[in-house]
């Protein structure tokens, strides 16, 4: 298990850990925007940059790397708050603020780094999407891939195919939930759910009538897990009630 030095403090982590894991294990905070534990790291936002020096490198030799996708190594030295790192993050946030001048999360992060207003020309058509790719990656992760990044450069955006309701979408809302700037709109009620312009009917618990899941999502899970579809239409309330009645039937033998 490799041992690293993070801001002067020693930590030992698993061999397959990333620098971000090690930094967190050392109790140090590094801001991230495109990272989500459990999803393959992507290294897209560049906010998690740190200074890193490998064992055997000259003492003052440091390289700027993204912590979220860089593997650890024995004897690595990491500095998370050097002047050039703070400056690099400031540039990233300045640019993000120009793109998304109205996104509260970006405003807040920028403020943490002393930026009240972007020094670049703010986007004349403000959009809260920072193109972190979390939504498309989570959708890939669950095996659906209903949405993707489209176009390039200035025009790049997250969109369903042909900007029409995505035929593959199962209405699970994972993309909307994971979005750090909450910029994927949806509506959900006891009967219907709409996301990406696609409408879904909700499956309801046969006993309580609560909406639990969309039919498409239940089918997707049932097919992949082999668990009968009825399992997915049981609400938490129903599950608790079932458990309570099971416990009532149990006889405690003293």
């Amino acid at each position: 298990m490799p041992t690293l030095k993070i801001n002067g403090r020693r930590v030992t982590v698993d061999a397959d850990a990333t620098i971000l894991d090690a930094v967190r294990a050392a109790g140090v905070e590094v801001p991230t925007l495109c990272h989500f534990d459990g999803l393959e790291p992507w290294g897209g936002c560049r906010l998690c940059v740190v200074d890193m020096s490998q064992a055997g490198w000259e003492d003052d030799w440091f390289k700027v790397v993204t912590a979220c996708n860089h593997p650890v190594d024995e004897g690595m030295t990491v500095v998370t708050d050097s002047e050039r790192i703070i400056e690099t993050r400031r540039v990233v946030l300045d640019l993000l603020l120009a793109r998304c001048p109205e996104a509260p999360l970006i405003q807040e992060l920028a403020r943490d780094y002393g930026i009240e207003e972007t020094s670049y020309t703010p986007n004349p058509e403000p959009d809260d999407c920072i193109l972190c790719g979390l939504c498309t990656r989570v959708c890939d992760h669950i095996g659906v891939s209903a949405i993707s990044s489209a176009d390039r450069g200035w025009g790049r955006e997250i969109a369903p195919p042909f900007h029409k309701p995505p035929p593959d979408c199962i209405g699970c809302l994972a993309c909307a939930e994971i979005c750090p700037t909450d910029c994927i709109p949806y509506e959900t009620s006891n009967i219907r759910r709409t996301i990406w312009g696609k409408e879904f009917e909700m499956l309801r618990d046969p006993k309580t009538g609560e909406a639990v899941i969309t039919k498409e999502q239940a089918e997707h899970f049932a097919e992949r897990s082999g668990v009968p579809i009825t399992y997915f239409e049981t609400s938490d309330t129903s599950k608790r009630r079932q458990m309570a009645s099971t416990f009532q039937k149990l006889q405690v033998v003293k």
């Binding site: 498309t136 959708c139 659906v144 891939s145 209903a146 949405i147 993707s148 990044s149 489209a150 176009d151 390039r152 969109a159 369903p160 195919p161 042909f162 995505p166 035929p167 593959d168």
Partner: protein
């Protein structure tokens, strides 16, 4: 270019038949489809996604990423005006304006009769002859607005 109705999937099937049904073949297939149909019709893309077992969203992503692909029907002749730095300085803007006057459509648009599509591009590597205009495959250097009509008429003809 021969027009293939977008609903005619047989050409797409023929193209698909020439490649292994695997994701790495995607871009080559899209290039062939583009050459055959002069754009990427969405029902053909749906068929490609299905045949290669690649999510439609991924096919859409690739199709919109490359500038050489169009998801809209294009004119038989593509007219490109270089608006890179050198050409911009030497009056590319006037060429675009003249084209708009002549054809009645702007950059990125296609005439109603599907004869011309106007595109602007950034530097075609011929800055010494700026401004550059390309009609079909024919390059016109030191292009002048007063000659735009001539460039269009000559199209991709070889004789000057």
């Amino acid at each position: 270019m021969a027009e293939i109705p977008r609903s005619d999937l047989s050409v797409a099937e023929e193209i698909l038949g020439g490649y292994p049904a695997e994701e790495p073949a995607l871009i080559q297939i899209l290039q062939d489809v583009h050459r055959a149909y002069n754009y990427l019709p969405c029902d053909v893309l749906e068929r490609v996604a299905e045949a290669l077992d690649v999510p439609l969203a991924k096919v859409f992503s690739v199709s919109t990423f490359y500038k050489s692909f169009s998801l809209e029907p294009q004119g038989d002749t593509i007219v490109k005006v270089c608006t890179g730095t050198a050409c911009h300085i030497r009056g590319a803007g006037l060429l675009v304006e003249e084209l708009e006057r002549q054809l009645g459509v702007g950059p990125g648009e296609t005439t109603e009769d599907l004869s011309f599509t106007i595109k602007t591009v950034n530097c075609v590597g011929a800055c010494a002859m700026a401004p550059v205009m390309i009609v079909a495959d024919k390059y016109w250097g030191s292009a002048k607005p007063t000659r735009v009509k001539k460039y269009l008429a000559k199209g991709g003809d070889d004789e000057n």
